[in-house]
């Protein structure tokens, strides 16, 4: 089980590489430019949902970017939520 953190926009190679590795049982946290992948109705957010991984977004980063219209599968978390995920998942992979 991998906790993925994505800090790059859906137009980046980081996004493509991250998605190619994500699997059921993994979790993904969108942060920084990664938050744009959560926008409802986009190809990026559909691609994320097809991975069957759990999807999270850092609330403050989403608000900064004006990303308010989230795809339904994406849950908002704060910094404590991120720490909690790192407690649960034994390893993290940073994509950027």
């Amino acid at each position: 089980m991998i906790l993925h953190t994505l800090n790059a926009s859906p137009s980046s190679a980081a996004f493509t590489d991250c998605v190619s590795i994500m699997a059921k049982g993994d979790a993904l946290v969108l942060m920084g430019d990664g938050v744009y992948a959560a926008l409802a109705g986009t190809k990026a957010s559909k691609t994320l949902q097809q991975t069957d991984a759990s999807l999270y977004i850092m609330t403050a980063d989403a608000l900064a970017a004006g990303v308010t219209n989230l795809a339904a599968a994406v849950s908002r978390i704060d910094m404590e939520g991120l720490v909690t995920l790192t407690e649960t998942f034994p390893r993290q992979q940073a994509w950027y």
Binding site: G32, D33, Y36, A64, A65, G66, V67
Partner: protein, 123 residues
């Protein structure tokens, strides 16, 4: 600033608002151009369309909000703002809610636009 011939200038923005310092740098360059009486136009391409996302608020992250600053450009007589229509569609953006009034363009139109300027500054 020394007296110099006026040049027509297009700032071509290509990067997201907070992922690097480039959006802020381009904004500062646009404002400086206006302050020194040199008019510039703007083209938001690719991920730079995300600078036009409505309701940004980056203060909680300790950074200035780009979208709010873009809204002030018309006060400085920067009125010709173009946007990559495909990129805006890719991010499912409603440009009518953007902080700036923009004119959407396709790929061929962007090329036509760019060849009309003396200088292109790519940010």
């Amino acid at each position: 600033m020394t007296a110099a011939t006026k040049k027509t200038v297009l700032l071509v923005l290509r990067h997201s608002p907070y992922g690097s310092g480039l959006a802020k740098a381009a904004l500062d360059a646009a404002l400086a151009s206006a302050a020194f009486d040199q008019s510039v136009d703007l083209l938001f391409m690719g991920d730079a369309v995300l600078q036009l996302q409505p309701d940004q608020d980056s203060h909680p992250l300790g950074m200035k909000t780009i979208g709010r600053q873009l809204a002030s450009l018309p006060l400085y007589d920067i009125n010709h703002v173009y946007v990559d229509a495909q990129a805006a569609a890719r991010y499912n953006m409603d440009l009518s809610k953007a902080p700036l009034q923009t004119r959407p363009l396709g790929g061929h139109d962007m090329h036509q636009l760019m060849v009309g300027y003396d200088h292109l500054l790519g940010f």
